[in-house]
């Protein structure tokens, strides 16, 4: 299976070079989203005009984009759902010198590549055309029991979002948290604080490295996974139903790690393929585990 993953990862290097094209609703041909749009509002995006000729149109900023138009409708497949949020102070948060919002880190290349890997290596049937971007208080979120959120160090959800997240997780939802570390401040504490708001009484606990989630599809040694950057080793935390590690896992927290960074650049040659592989393995394991537990 590792060889298959290696082949799939290698394949991506070539196939993804053409760039990412988001899901196109059959009834909304003009809502094509280009991967480049999250790079900034000033850039332009090439879309297909009615005549089929490529035209250049003004590109909306990530904050201005109406994701309801570009999200793939429910079709009972596995959809990669990225949580969009506001860091407070008006508008959606930005990082990297204001070039992209915090929630959109690695979007959309990371999930695009990851969905290809899922499709190639497992029998999970994913919607590979693109990921869905939803806010926590969007009722649509409840149609997708697995969600992904990043950069929760600066996350500052509203009461409505927190309440909705708590209900989502208690009903059966599963949240994968990525790209958070303490080097930039006490991000762990910020996340733990808001999770306490969402799930009162349920605590983040260190995840045993022998937990089933690390062996649900690939056999992964979590201690051997090297973060793409940063001084600290990767750590894994989780929130369990009734604080009982034998019960259902509600939240998986990749701390001091950023597996989506590997996914995003796995076709660019920035990282050794072996490291990208481990990141993909973790991601695949998380999805297969969540689909069976």
């Amino acid at each position: 299976m590792n060889a298959r993953l290696l082949r799939a990862t290698t394949l991506l290097v070539g196939t993804l070079a053409a760039g990412y094209v988001g899901y196109t609703r059959p009834d909304a041909a003009s809502t094509t989203l280009d991967a480049g749009m999250i790079l900034g509002a000033s850039e332009a995006v090439a879309t297909a005009g009615p005549s089929g000729a490529r035209v250049v149109a003004p590109r909306p900023s990530a904050a201005q984009q109406s994701y309801a138009d570009i999200n793939a409708p429910y079709d009972a497949k596995y959809h990669f759902v990225r949580i969009r949020y506001d860091v407070g102070g008006g508008g959606f948060g930005r990082r990297r010198g204001g070039r992209e919002p915090a929630w959109a880190h690695d979007y959309p290349r990371a999930e695009h590549n990851f969905l290809k890997i899922i499709d190639e290596t497992t029998y999970v049937v994913p919607q590979t055309e693109g990921s869905n971007v939803l806010t926590l208080d969007d009722p649509e979120l409840f149609k997708y029991p697995i969600a992904y959120i990043v950069e929760v160090g600066s996350w500052n959800p509203t009461d409505e979002e927190v309440a909705s997240l708590g209900e989502y997780l208690l009903k059966g939802g599963f949240l994968i948290v990525d790209d958070t570390r303490n080097e930039r401040g006490n991000e762990w504490a910020n996340f733990a604080y808001h999770m306490e708001r969402a799930l009162p009484g349920l605590a983040l606990v260190p995840l045993d490295h022998g937990h089933d989630i690390f062996d649900s599809f690939f056999e992964v040694n979590p201690a051997a996974v090297i973060p793409p950057y940063g001084r600290y080793p990767a750590e894994y935390f989780a929130i369990f139903e009734d604080n009982d590690p034998d019960k259902r896992m509600l939240v998986l927290f990749n701390f001091n790690n950023d597996i989506a960074e590997y996914w995003e650049y796995s076709d660019m040659g920035y990282f050794p393929i072996e490291l990208s592989n481990e990141a993909y393995k973790l991601g695949v394991n998380y999805i297969v585990y969540a689909l069976t537990h």
């Binding site: 009972a76 596995y78 497992t122 029998y123 409840f142 029991p145 209900e167 059966g172 069976t292």
Partner: protein, 761 residues
């Protein structure tokens, strides 16, 4: 009416029915009579040609009256007679069968118990009927409840029999009197048979032997006012914690349109109480009562209606039903072809059910499987079972979205046999690789399924529809799909659930299948089958065509505390394994008996592949309520493969435990346990009105007569003219029937009156 007939015609209609008509006058006399007829005709002619003041019409009328008078006279002179066989006095036997069951103690409207009739009509020296019978026949008396016993006199009657078995009684008496000339059997009973033995089997030999049965129906046709719990439909075994929907049939007379409570209780507590509105007077109603049973072990559930004011019989207001609440954990194999949300949510829904173990085998990639819920590392080690022994360990099988081509032909046949031979429950879930879309059409499994798989929908997207799921009428009455208590809340509860999606368009059921849930959508021309089932062989198959029931748990419109999804899957999985047989099983032919009554134990024995075994050594270990243990061998019945039976008589009151073990050589094939409760029976007080229809049928089919106490006085003569045995031919004169003399007087008087009126005198 019979008395008037007998006055006019000398004999009762029965004699005319039985006899052959003839003229007894010798031939010479007949010639003279013909001559007299000719003279008569000449006389008539003289009327018509005579001239006078009368008209031709008047002469015609007078001539007709005179000819009619002459014809009656000639008829009498011809000596008409009936020829029939009558039994020879004291040369024949008559068996008198008297119902000795408890229902004979019931008091009818006149305040007299039915048993008084027996005393009144069959006490020697005090009854004309008995005297007359004794003069003509040699009488043999029998008492009967479940079968007939000879008695010498009425002192042998106790009226304490716990059952009434008319067929058994007739058969016993026929066999007892087989060696003597038998003129008939007299059956004195209320006819309230409660043994369900087919009457036909008892009547055919009587018909063949020409033995008529004369039935005497006692009691009222309907006891009024009275309420009765007629029947309770409840399984004999359920899993602990199961939710039951039990049909209770309530019959009544005299309490029409009233409302009464039905209380359901076990030894320790009230399980449910439901108010039931009774139908029109005399019409039964079916009350559906929902309750749960916990605590494993044998249980007695009592359904009771409190006595109503003025009610005549109160002992038929309650019924007790024995049920075994099983504490075992039932294993279900869930094979899923693709990781999808449905898997996680199904597992979670039944996770806290201690009696259901869902073993998941999920294909996560090509030749890669994920196992959850297995007992040990060896279970399903090599993927889906490849032998019957391995598959038949499970009692239920769920097939998720997996294409048929994944399986070998042997495995497909094995899945079909899992239902038909092993008696397991098979549930196929909807999905992109299920039903026709998964290539299941044309496989052995398709034949098992309750739905007709339509042509596969092609194209990259295939069929995809969002449907609103609602129960059918059958679904409303089925315990597996009850999400709420009955009533107006049921429809609202289903309406509140979000729509689900279907990728397998299925609209047709197989003959014999039942649809419990359907899905509708404005975008679809017909409703889709969502949940359907059928019995197939020894097991059952269920089709659930939707692919995302988890939306009933996750959807934003569903409240966090809503238990619809959990309830649905708990009930569905329990139903899937409900009634699935064990390799070795044992039942008793009756759930409840009185001490001393016979009970038949029937064990079915199969090997690990559920093939019936006839050469097993089967032993029943019977433990009485006081702890006395008796071991009895159970023998193969020969009639049926794998069936072993033995009879025993429990003597103590209370609960008997019966453990059956089957061995073949040194190998233990299996063991099973059942329970039997012995207590006083009230069975005789149910349906205790006079069953005249059954008694008429017995009489008519054997050539006898049906009587009530009011009409019984003709019984001796009726047996004489209709009975079998030693008979002689008797000629019974008809010329002196009063009707003939009356007729002649009428004709003569008529002519005279006619003449007076017309002035012809």
């Amino acid at each position: 009416m019979n008395r008037i007939f007998e006055f006019l015609f000398k004999y009762r209609p029965l004699v005319f029915e039985q006899g052959d008509f003839t003229f007894a006058a010798p031939n010479s006399v007949r010639l003279w009579l013909v001559a007299a007829g000719l003279v008569g005709a000449a006389a008539v002619a003289s009327y018509t040609i005579a001239r006078g003041k009368s008209s031709v019409a008047e002469r015609g009328v007078m001539a007709g009256l005179r000819v009619a008078l002459l014809a009656v006279l000639v008829f009498c002179l011809m000596q008409p007679a009936l020829v029939l066989s009558t039994v020879v006095p004291q040369q024949n036997f008559v068996g008198v069968l008297i119902d000795d069951s408890r229902s004979m103690t019931l008091t009818d409207e006149d305040g007299v118990p039915r048993s008084d009739f027996v005393t009144q009509f069959f006490t020697p020296g005090e009854s004309e009927l008995l005297d007359e019978l004794s003069e003509r026949f040699v009488l043999r008396f029998f008492r009967f409840s479940d079968f007939a016993n000879r008695i010498d006199g009425l002192e042998g009657l106790t009226f304490d029999g716990t059952h009434t078995n008319l067929a058994g009684a007739l058969t016993s008496a026929r066999q007892e009197l087989a060696g003597v000339p038998l003129s008939g059997l007299v059956l004195v009973t209320d006819g309230a048979d409660n043994d369900n033995e087919p009457l036909t089997e008892a009547l055919v030999p009587l018909q063949a032997a020409g033995v008529p049965v004369f039935t005497v129906g006692l009691g009222e046709d309907a006891i009024s006012p009275d309420i009765e719990i007629g029947r309770v439909e409840m399984p004999r075994a359920v899993l602990e914690g199961s939710s039951l929907l039990v049909d209770v049939v309530v019959t009544q007379t005299g309490f029409g349109r009233t409302t009464v409570p039905i209380i359901v209780e076990d030894e320790t507590k009230i399980l449910a109480e439901e108010m039931v509105e009774l139908g029109a007077d005399g019409e039964p109603v079916v009350a559906r009562i929902h309750f749960e049973l916990d605590n494993a072990g044998p249980r007695r559930v009592r359904f009771r209606i409190p006595a109503q004011p003025g009610e005549r019989v109160v002992r038929n207001n309650a019924r007790e039903v024995q049920i075994e609440v099983r504490g075992e954990t039932e294993k279900i194999l869930y094979f899923e072809g693709e990781p999808r949300h449905e898997v996680a949510f199904i597992r979670r829904a039944v996770d806290d059910d201690d009696n259901i173990q869902v073993v998941l085998l999920e294909r996560t990639a090509e030749s890669k499987f994920y196992r959850l819920g297995v007992d040990d590392g060896a279970e399903l080690e090599f993927g889906f079972p490849s032998s019957r022994e391995e598959l038949y360990r499970y009692r239920g099988l769920i097939l998720g979205s997996v294409e048929a081509s994944f399986f070998t032909h042997d495995q497909l046949q094995m899945i079909a046999d899992f239902v038909s031979e092993r008696g397991g429950g098979l549930l196929m879930l909807g999905g992109r690789s299920a039903f026709a879309e998964g290539g299941w059409a044309g496989t052995p499994v398709e034949e098992v399924m309750p739905v007709i798989m339509q042509e596969r929908v092609g194209g990259p997207q295939g069929f995809f529809a969002e449907v609103k799921v609602r129960p059918t009428l059958a679904g409303l009455a089925h315990a597996a799909v009850q999400l709420a208590e009955e009533g107006p809340g049921v429809a609202a509860r289903w309406d509140s659930l979000p729509p689900l999606t279907i990728m397998n368009p299925i609209v047709e059921l197989r003959p014999g299948a039942t649809s419990l849930l359907v899905g509708t959508s404005d975008a679809l021309p017909t409703s889709q089958v969502v949940l359907a089932f059928q019995r197939y062989g020894r097991g059952k198959s269920i089709a659930l065509t939707v692919q995302d029931t988890w939306l009933w748990q996750m959807h934003a419109d569903v409240a966090l505390e809503d238990q619809s999804h959990e309830t649905f899957w708990k009930q569905l999985t329990r139903w899937l394994v409900d009634g699935v047989p064990q390799g070795v099983a044992v039942v008793t032919d009756q759930e409840q008996v009185e001490p001393g009554e016979r009970v038949r134990l029937v064990a079915s024995v199969g090997d690990s592949t559920y093939i019936e075994v006839n050469d097993a050594s089967v032993t029943a270990r019977i433990t009485s309520p006081s702890g006395v243990v008796e071991e009895v061998p159970v023998d193969w019945t020969v009639d049926r493969d794998g069936e072993y039976a033995v009879q025993f008589r429990p003597t103590e009151q209370g609960e008997y435990e019966v453990d059956v073990t089957a061995m073949r050589g040194e190998e233990t094939l299996g063991s099973a346990t059942t329970y039997l409760y012995t207590t006083e029976s009230n069975e005789e007080f149910f349906g205790a009105g006079r069953h005249a229809q059954a008694l008429r049928r017995i009489a008519e089919e054997t050539g006898g007569q049906y009587y009530t106490p009011e009409t019984i006085e003709t019984l001796p003569e009726d047996i004489t003219v209709t009975g079998a045995g030693v008979t002689l031919v008797e000629e019974m004169d008809l010329w002196d029937m009063p009707i003939l003399f009356l007729l002649m007087l009428l004709l003569m008087g008529g002519e005279w009156a006619f003449r007076r009126v017309r002035g012809l005198v």
